[in-house]
């Protein structure tokens, strides 16, 4: 390579590549590029903590400063992964403590994090700045106290929907008096009350604080004091948003919110008293993101608030908004990009609100930038889905949950195959799709034919035979994650597409008809006993297949079996 650039120049060029895909592509060009790239990679993303081991990562990338790791499969969110399955972060932290003393960022999703891990990291990484834990569990507020006490340069502590054992709110008081570097604090998932004076002092002395998401235990009376101390806030989450009738609270809130001229995101809103919502109106003109998924108030109150936000891009709301409320969006929030409507009564037998497919159709017609949808409802029709698909070919994420499993088109009583078929046909950039309702093998034909950019597919109670799964595995070229529950898919499609599985991050199948598994990177979860100990005709409970270079897991619980080479021989 007589004419190649000096290493320093290549390193400088590579520094402009932020996407992991680009970095990975660069490392495949030639051996010298591989070497240069691996020494200058600072940020690592590991989509499945069992796909690779800490040792392999450290050996290849010696100078990492930021790590993002994901653990359990997505269906763990819905209690489908048994307790004790795995995704422990401790081995990663102890390995990185030895090899990455200058590590600054750790972001984890669906992993088990212990107080021990938190204490170890807080004492070992001297320049530690960012800790983001999404949907994690296994730690207590004592672990948070270690972080607060020891991470002198901490900028972000972001706990998103974690299950934390809440021993007390005292952890917050462990931030030292000379600690001033905080930029982001999200404690919304915690239950206990923290010391308000400690919180106020913390907020006062951190001039760069831009994100503050409180927990439910912070009463609305305390908000004005906090907001006055942090008028520079960009993202704010309230606590419980109601109080005994005290008129001065309202006027204090109005004054405090008007002082916050940079707010872009609002959340919180537990126990909302609608009378207090207007206090925020002055802060709403700049709002781009509104999370009302805790707000149990009725449609007119919701709409009154939402229409104050002309720049709204992202709205999360409960189905109390109803079709009538969603009608307001095209007129007032034309820039809407993401809409999530959650069910207020997911287990009720009858609908408790008037939210139907019409609401979604209206928004799809009137909000031209809408690209990401998550919608829970109780009825759907092919006609509505076809209309939505034609209205919004720019959809990137479409997740529809019709609450009654296998609900047909409520107008024609037919399956919803043509409706979802229209979605994949028109929305050519679709990356993520979740389907529900009555679906036959037909819909998988459409998906295999059209959904060429689809990366993640979630299916439940759908299909008639292995042909359905086969169409997806053989047709969806970009598929990375596939999760299936309660579908009649068995061994045939898996066998026929074993090579495809190597190109995907993971496949999850629970309550299907799989009996034998095609490859060696397969975990079978069965709390009833070893798969071989039951009759051959009995399908496995749960199957999780993922590619890995790390070999079989060493931390398996007793209900997980990895299939061995014998399984492959038996099938042939």
């Amino acid at each position: 390579m007589a004419y190649s650039f000096p290493e320093e120049v290549l390193e400088y060029v590579f520094a402009f590549l932020s996407s992991h895909k680009d970095r990975n592509a660069v490392s495949l060009v030639c051996k010298s590029w591989y070497e240069i790239e691996r020494w200058c990679r600072r940020r690592i993303f590991i989509g499945n903590c069992y796909a690779v081991s800490p040792q392999i990562v450290i050996r290849r990338f010696p100078e990492v400063r930021a790590v993002k790791i994901k653990g359990k499969p997505h269906f763990a969110d819905f209690n489908l992964v048994p307790e004790g399955w795995g995704a422990y972060v401790y081995p990663w932290i102890s390995a990185m403590v030895r090899s990455y003393p200058w590590l600054e960022e750790i972001k984890l999703k669906r992993m088990v994090v212990t107080d021990e891990s938190l204490e170890l990291l807080s004492k070992s990484f001297k320049n530690f700045k960012v800790l983001v834990l999404s949907s994690c569990e296994g730690f207590t507020t004592d672990g948070l106290a270690s972080i607060a006490a020891n991470c002198r340069n901490l900028r972000e502590l972001d706990l998103r929907e974690c299950e934390v054992e809440d021993l007390s709110g005292h952890w917050l008081s462990h931030f030292p008096d000379n600690f001033t570097s905080l930029v982001s604090l999200n404690m919304s998932c915690l239950g206990s009350e923290v010391s308000f004076s400690a919180l106020e002092r913390l907020v006062s002395r951190c001039p760069n604080l831009r994100t503050l998401r409180l927990n439910r235990a912070v009463p609305v009376e305390k908000l004005p004091n906090l907001l006055r101390r942090a008028p520079q806030l960009v993202e704010f989450g309230t606590g419980a948003y109601s109080a005994e009738n005290q008129t001065d609270i309202f006027s204090n809130l109005v004054e405090a919110f008007s002082g916050c001229k940079h707010l872009k995101s609002l959340s919180g809103f537990w126990d909302v008293d609608p009378a207090y919502l207007p206090a925020m109106y002055y802060a709403c003109t700049g709002i781009t993101s509104l999370n009302l998924s805790n707000a149990t108030v009725q449609s007119p109150d919701l709409v009154e608030l939402i229409i104050q936000c002309p720049n709204l891009k992202c709205l999360w709301v409960l189905d109390y908004i109803e079709d009538a409320g969603l009608k307001a969006l095209p007129s007032y929030c034309k820039d809407l990009q993401e809409l999530r409507v959650f069910p207020s009564d997911p287990y009720g037998a009858e609908p408790n609100v008037s939210l139907t497919e019409q609401g979604l159709v209206t928004v799809s017609a009137g909000c031209p930038k809408l690209q990401s949808v998550l919608y829970f409802c109780r009825q759907m029709s092919n006609a509505a889905l076809i209309t939505i698909a034609r209205n919004r070919p720019n959809l990137i994420r479409f997740r529809l949950c019709i609450i009654d499993p296998q609900a047909p088109d409520y107008l024609t009583l037919e399956p919803l195959d043509t409706g979802f078929g229209a979605i994949v046909e028109h929305c050519k950039e679709l990356l993520r799709l979740s389907m529900s309702g009555l679906l036959t093998d037909r819909v998988f034909e459409y998906i295999g034919t059209h959904a060429k950019k689809l990366e993640m597919l979630s299916i439940a109670f759908a299909g008639d035979s292995d042909l359905g799964l086969h169409n997806v595995l053989s047709g969806c070229e970009s598929l990375r994650k596939l999760e299936i529950m309660d579908c009649p898919f068995g061994d045939k499609a898996l066998l026929a597409n074993a090579a495809k599985l190597e190109t995907m991050r993971s496949l999850w199948m629970s309550s299907c008809s799989v009996r034998r598994c095609p490859s060696s990177n397969v975990e079978v979860m069965d709390e009833r006993g070893h798969p071989d100990s039951r009759p051959e005709t009995c399908p496995v409970e749960k199957l999780y297949i993922y590619r890995t270079v790390a070999g079989p897991r060493v931390d398996k619980p007793n209900f997980v079996w990895t299939m061995d080479e014998d399984a492959v021989l038996r099938l042939s």
Partner: protein
């Protein structure tokens, strides 16, 4: 052991001579489809019912683990109350014919039956919610409430959580007057 017998069966093609109940031409896989059971439930569901302390109304379909795909923290928002919660929600309660009003903390109750029982104890009367219960004859009372908009509503129409956030005061009306509010 099982593996050996499987090989043995395949060689002899015992399947062809197997005695089964079923139409000729049908095979195992179609039988399995019909037995596919969507009504899986798990012990977890029963436990969570007790923990949540909500009324465990059995749904018309048995609940399936993992469906609908709702995060548990969302369920907590809607049904659980924070223990170290705010001060109670006291509302005035008037009863037709009673000389003075009372006040109760409606946050203390978990559902409508609890509330009505407490009111019955307080006023020493019997209160019917729906017209089906002993009818709305003259001796019975109907509970009504004033909501945020100032309208008088019949207690029991909206979900409990919605009720406690919108109820401003309660009035226990004499049965005859309450006829207009929905008693048939």
């Amino acid at each position: 052991m099982e593996r050996a017998s499987a090989a043995y069966e395949n060689d002899l093609n015992l399947k062809a001579t197997e005695l089964r109940l079923g139409l000729p031409g049908t095979d195992e896989s179609s039988e399995k489809q019909s037995s596919r059971n969507y009504k899986r439930s798990s012990p977890e569901m029963d436990n969570s019912c007790q923990k949540d302390e909500q009324k465990c109304v059995p749904a018309s379909k048995a609940q399936v683990v993992g469906w609908p795909p709702v995060r548990s923290y969302l369920k907590n928002v809607l049904h659980q109350k924070n223990d170290s919660d705010l001060s109670g929600m006291f509302v005035k309660v008037s009863m037709d014919g009673a000389p003075y009003l009372r006040k109760i903390d409606i946050k203390v109750y978990k559902n409508y039956p609890d509330l009505l029982k407490a009111l019955e104890n307080m006023f020493k009367c019997s209160i019917g919610v729906y017209s089906e219960r002993e009818g709305c004859n003259g001796s019975d009372f109907s509970p009504t409430y004033e909501d945020k908009d100032g309208d008088w509503m019949l207690v029991g129409d909206v979900p409990w959580d919605m009720f406690i956030t919108s109820c401003k005061r309660l009035r226990i009306m004499k049965g005859s007057e309450a006829k207009g509010l929905g008693c048939l």
